[in-house]
Every structure is written in C-alpha cells, then in structure tokens.
C-alpha cells in the first residue's frame, strides 16, 4: 500500500530546500567575501628588521610595525585590509579590491624613515624620537590646518631648537623633503607644529605617515602578488562556471546511475552547496580560487558518501533483503566507512592548514568545512529522505534502485 503522507512529507522537505535556495541563494552568494585573486588587489609579505642592526626585532616591534601599517592603510581608506604578523619577523598585508594599486603599494611599501635635518642635511633627530602616535592633524589658532608633533624627550628637542633658533629645520620622509619650517623659538615642552597644509585631510594624511615613519624598523618586500581587478573577475567567473558545469554533469550521472536514490542525492547536493556557502559567510571566510577548487572537490566527497551508501544498499538488495531492511543495513554499514575515509581527509586538511600559507589555508578551511557539511547533508540528510521514500512503498521495484531483477538472490 502506498503511504501518501510520506510522499507529501518528502515533497514538502524538497520544496523547502529548493524554495530557500531559490529565495536566498543569490543573496548568500553575493555576501561571500572574495579573496584578492577573485576581485583584484594585492598581497605583500614584508620582512621586518630593526633600523639599528645591533638591535633585535622583538614581538613588540613587530606589533608596532603592524599598527603603523594599519594606520598607513587607513590613509588609503581601503575596506577590510588584512595585516597580520607572521612568525618572528614578517608581516603579511592583503588588500583586496584596491583600485589604485600603484598608490597603495607606494604608500605601504615606503620604508618611511622620518628625519629632521639642518640646512646642511645633518640629521638632528629621527622618527625614533617622535612619541608614539605623536603626530596629529589639527588646526592652529587661525583655523589653518597644521600637523602637531610631540617628542618623546622634550629636553632633546629643546636643545635642538635652542641651537638652531632662527634657522630652518627640514623634515624628510626618506629622501623626500616634506616641509622646512623655521624654528621661531626654543620649544621646551617637546611639542612642535608643521604648518602650510592645504586642508585638514592633507594634515591628517601627513600625520599618519609621520606616525608610521616614527617606527624604528626597516621593511623589505620578500613576496608580493597582485591581481588586476579584471583578471580577478574573470577568474571568479570561469571558476564558478566550471563549478556549475562539473556539478551539472555529476547530478545527471547520479540520477542516471542510481535512479531514485540518485535523485535524492541531487536534492541533498543542492542543500550541501547552499549550506557550505552559508557557513563560509557566517565564518567570514574568504573565498579564493583554490577555495573554489576545494568547494568542488567537496562536492566530490559528498557524492562519494552517497555512492558508498547506495552501492551498499544495492548489495543488500541483491542479497535478497526487503527494500526497508536493505536501506537500513546499507546506510548503517556504510557509515563507519564514510567516517573513516573522511577523518583521514580532515587530518590531511588540518596539516595543510597548519603549514600552509594564505591561499592554501583558505583551501584547507573550505575542505574541512565541506567534509563536515557533507556529513550532515550527504549522510544524515540523504538517510532521512531515503527513509521517507522507501517507507512510502512507492518505489518497490528493483529498477528504481538501479538493480536488475535477475541479480537478486534468494535469501
């Protein structure tokens, strides 16, 4: 007897899955954070060394350098910059979606050694003398934009101003003269100002650069990669297109080869793809090109779980079991196989995450996530739906399972 209530439940679940995907799928897809290889931008790895070779770089100097870089990047107004300290002496800067790459690279890449020099070019003080965040954009008493400077050691600055009173003192960022104000009087409190800025924005920019330049480190570019925005979009486009083509072929294969269970595999695969995208968004994981690859491999893994289960069910059917007990035995027995196979893959992915850098890490995260999600959809989800379908008694013919009648043995 056909149990229609189970068929209806099955149809409702399917409708809910497809309905959710149809209504929110586009939004979820749009919310995915794209890596710089998919939307353009660049990544630079700097090696940080102290200016004074006798000094050793400490965790603190590295952290300071990260802060300095952050303030420089803020000057650019880049959204979501990623600046991370790596290991003992490295900083990785990742800026996705930067349109003016040249400007950004110039500003970030600048070693920006700040010096104060006399008319002969003799260095009187350097960035190391500036207090932390000692430069600020402000207005003077006439509402003109200025940059105010604060020094660590007021006495040193007082001495310098006393010695050079009435003379110009040039402020250099590397070899570039920024301004050369004349020292009007002895300054005892360690506070000075640079005037002549055209706007408050310009004053603030200069202050940010000075603050960054006040950092006593040298930064060397050791690795860099940049992707043009158009190339990135093209990569995204072709990656997604390839994914859709691959998935479509796999779905057709599953339906043709495994029949009714194959159709259920397709439903759970759609749920799998949707859930994986959703998880990526919730974790604010960045999708990179290798990430797309992991995504599609994840589809392979999810399909594999289904194939293992369905092959087992087919075997049980051939051995003469009823549809219900074949499904039960098949899904129960395949579970430990699927778990063992996936645990080893996760072990591989974790090691990958541990040792890999940047885009490989993204790949590993996506792979781990995809295995976890596939356990939910391809194992639990598939079992639930298959259970409903089998118990409905609508599919009580071996043909629905891709099994030939003559292969079935007597029990």
């Amino acid at each position: 007897m056909i149990k229609w209530s189970r068929i209806v439940t099955l149809l409702i679940i399917t409708a809910v899955i497809f309905g959710t995907v149809a209504m929110t799928g586009k939004k979820v897809a749009m919310n995915t954070t794209l890596g710089l290889d998919l939307r353009g931008g660049f990544e630079i790895l700097y090696e940080v060394a102290p200016l004074d070779p006798k000094q050793k770089a400490t965790k603190q100097t590295l952290q300071d350098a990260v802060h300095a870089l952050e303030s420089r990047v803020n000057v650019l107004g880049v959204s979501e910059p990623e600046i991370q300290a790596e290991g003992e002496n490295r900083i990785r800067v990742r800026l996705a979606g930067v349109t003016d790459q040249q400007k950004a690279r110039d500003l970030i890449g600048k070693p920006a050694k700040l010096t104060f020099r006399d008319a002969q070019g003799k260095i009187l003080m350097d960035g190391g003398d500036l207090a932390e965040n000692g430069a600020q954009g402000a207005f003077d008493q006439y509402q003109r934009p200025i940059v105010s400077l604060k020094f660590k050691d007021p006495k040193k600055f007082a001495d310098v101003t006393q010695k050079y009173i009435g003379k110009p003192m040039a402020i250099y960022l590397d070899q570039e003269l920024i301004t050369a104000p004349t020292i009007q009087s002895v300054i005892p409190n360690g506070v000075a100002q640079i005037d002549g800025q055209k706007s408050i924005e310009e004053a603030k920019n200069l202050a940010a650069i000075l603050n960054a330049g006040a950092l006593p480190v040298q930064m060397k570019e050791v690795f860099s990669t940049s992707v043009g925005a158009k190339l990135g979009q093209e990569a995204l486009h072709s990656g997604v297109e390839a994914g859709l083509i691959g998935t479509a072929i796999v779905l057709v294969f599953m339906m043709v080869y495994y029949r009714m269970p194959g159709v259920i595999a397709c439903i759970t695969l759609v749920a799998y793809i949707y859930l994986l995208m959703l998880m990526q968004n919730l974790m604010h994981a960045t999708l990179t090109l290798p990430g797309i690859a992991a995504f599609i491999l994840g589809i392979g893994m999810a399909v594999d779980a289904n194939i293992i289960m369905y092959e087992r069910i087919k075997e049980e059917l051939r051995s003469g079991k009823s549809y219900l007990s074949a499904m039960r035995a098949g899904s129960k027995r395949s579970l430990s196989t699927i778990l063992d196979a996936n645990v080893t893959s996760i072990i591989g992915a974790i090691v990958l995450f541990w040792f890999g850098s940047s885009s490989i890490r993204g790949f590993a995260i996506t792979l781990i996530l995809s295995i976890l999600v596939s356990l939910v959809t391809a194992v639990a989800g598939s079992r639930l739906l298959l259970n409903l379908a089998v118990r409905s008694n609508l599919f009580n013919k071996p043909g629905y399972y891709g099994v030939k009648e003559r292969d079935i043995r007597e029990l």
Partner: protein
C-alpha cells in the same frame, strides 16, 4: 558449511598478477628518479626567486612585441609566453625579482601599447621564502602521513596503515614524476594539489580496507588462497564505488581544468593525475602489498604452529 564459500565468488582476479603491477610501478618510479635527476622540475617563480607578470591583453598579440616593450623599460626578460583560452594573455618571467617601481614602469609601458583596459597580475618571490615553502610542503606530507598511519593503526591495523602510506607516497611521487617528465610548471597551488591527493588516496584505500576488514570478521583463513579470495571478493564488492567516485571527482576536476581559468590549471592537472593514480594504487598497489604481507605472516604462523 564452508565459511569461505561466499568469498570464492568473484569475477575478476586482481591478486593473481600483483607482481606485474609492482613491476609497472617500480619502472615508473625509476623513470621518475632518472627524470628528476636529469631534468628536475620546472619550478615556477613560487619556488625560485624571480617575478612572474601575467598580462591580460584582451586580444591576440605577438610575443616579440611584448618582449620589446619589456626591454624598452630596461628590464631583462626571462621569457614571454602566451596563455589563456583565447590566447590573449602574456606571461612574462623575470629571473631576478623586479622592484615595484619597475613594475609600475612596466604597467605604464604595456598600457601605452595596448590601452588602459589591460589587467596585470604580478608575483615576486624571494628565494628564502620559496625554499621555506617547498620545505613546509614536504614536512606537511610527512606529518600528515604520520598522523594518518596512527589513525589507521588504531582503527584498523598496522599492515593496513603501512600499505596505505606506501601507496600514498607512490601516488605523490608519480604525480611529481609526470610533472618532471613533461616539464609542467610547478607552482604553489601544485602543493595544494599534492596535499589533496594525500587526502584522497587515503580515502580510496580506506574504502577497500574497510571492506576487507569487514569480510575478515566472517572468514576463516586456512590457506593463502583464502586470503587472496577474500581480497578479490572485497575489491570486487567495492569496485563500482571506486570507479564511480573517481569518475565523478575527475568530472569536477576536469571541468575546472578546462573552464576554471589559467591560475588553477596546473593544480587541477596534478589533481586529475593524482586521482587516477589514487584509484589505481588503492586496488593494484595498496591492497596487493597487504595481501603479500598478510600471506608472509600467515606462512610464518603456520611454521610456528
């Protein structure tokens, strides 16, 4: 009733010719060693110092023309090659890392020639970093292998674990062999490909070993023939799965290889080769090593008894 009666029924005898599979793999491995010693690997900039610039020109172009533009900016090109589906992309390699100012100059020069609409991609690596990358990749594989051996030993037995790892190293080495023989460029994503192969080839082995373990529970091994029958039976049982899974994953990987764009092409190629070797070795290498080993231990036990 004979316990093993069930395991006698199999259509294909995988075990019989196992020495031949070992010889085939040994020949390939020797070829790989020779190739690696004589030709080595075609390392991309990710693994040696230098800069790689990829220019999306958007129309067909002459390689010589690009070369001239580069030379005009005062840079020394290593090579200029054409890439992309529409042959509209130039890949310029520099043996020496170029400075960012030089890159800016190059960008401008290319834009002057082909218009503002081009898109550039650049990557520069310092030799220290690239050596580190290569080293960490080797460590990753070894460390992953150790953990996987531990896991399989706990869940199965040491013989399974060891056979899996041998098959895994065999797969990884053969992929490297193919890349060396055909001098395909090895870049950073290639490492990701190799590491995925590690995961997948274990995946394939586990499925068969799991079935052998399962069948062992119901079997009484009285002779080496019983062991062989059991393995043949187990492989036969999981064969449809082995083929279908490789088929579906290879379909996905192939789609990405063909339509997925330039930057993941080598990654996908490594993966496809690795997947095929993985499926092959799970049936013809890993299982066969296990059979040989098990039979040897079996004979030893017999002697003691």
């Amino acid at each position: 009733m004979n316990y093993n009666q069930k395991f006698d029924e199999y259509k294909l005898d995988f075990v019989k010719h196992r020495k031949k599979y070992f010889i085939v793999s040994l020949v390939l491995i020797v070829a790989g060693i020779i190739s690696l010693l004589t030709m080595g690997l075609n390392l991309g900039v990710d693994f040696k110092s230098g800069t790689r610039v990829q220019v999306q020109i958007g129309k067909t172009f002459q390689e010589d023309e690009v070369k001239q533009i580069v030379e005009k900016t005062g840079l020394k090109t290593g090579s200029v090659t054409t890439a992309g589906d529409k042959k509209d992309m130039a890949v310029i390699q520099f043996a020496e890392p170029i400075h960012k100012d030089e890159f800016a100059k190059l960008t401008k020069a290319v834009q002057d020639k082909y218009g503002k609409n081009i898109s550039l991609q650049e990557s520069t690596v310092n030799p220290i970093i690239s050596r580190e990358l290569a080293r960490s990749a080797v460590y990753s594989i070894l460390i992953a292998s150790v953990f996987i051996v531990l896991y399989i030993t706990i869940r199965f037995e040491f013989r399974f674990a060891f056979s899996s790892i041998l098959a895994l190293l065999h797969n990884v080495f053969l992929v490297i062999t193919i890349f060396s023989l055909f001098q395909i460029e090895v870049d950073l994503p290639f490492i990701a490909g190799i590491l995925t192969i590690v995961g997948y080839s274990i995946h394939d082995n586990i499925i068969i070993f799991d079935r052998i373990r399962d069948n062992l529970k119901h079997a009484k091994l009285k002779s080496t023939q019983d062991i062989e029958d059991l393995v043949n039976y187990s492989i036969g049982q999981t064969l449809a799965r082995s083929i279908n899974t490789v088929l579906t994953v290879v379909i996905c990987a192939l789609a990405l290889y063909i339509f997925g764009g330039e930057s993941i092409r080598n990654f996908m190629l490594a993966l496809i080769i690795g997947l095929i070797f993985g499926a092959y070795s799970s049936i013809f290498i890993a299982s066969q090593i296990w059979v040989s080993w098990r039979e040897r231990d079996f004979k030893k036990q017999k002697k003691v008894a």
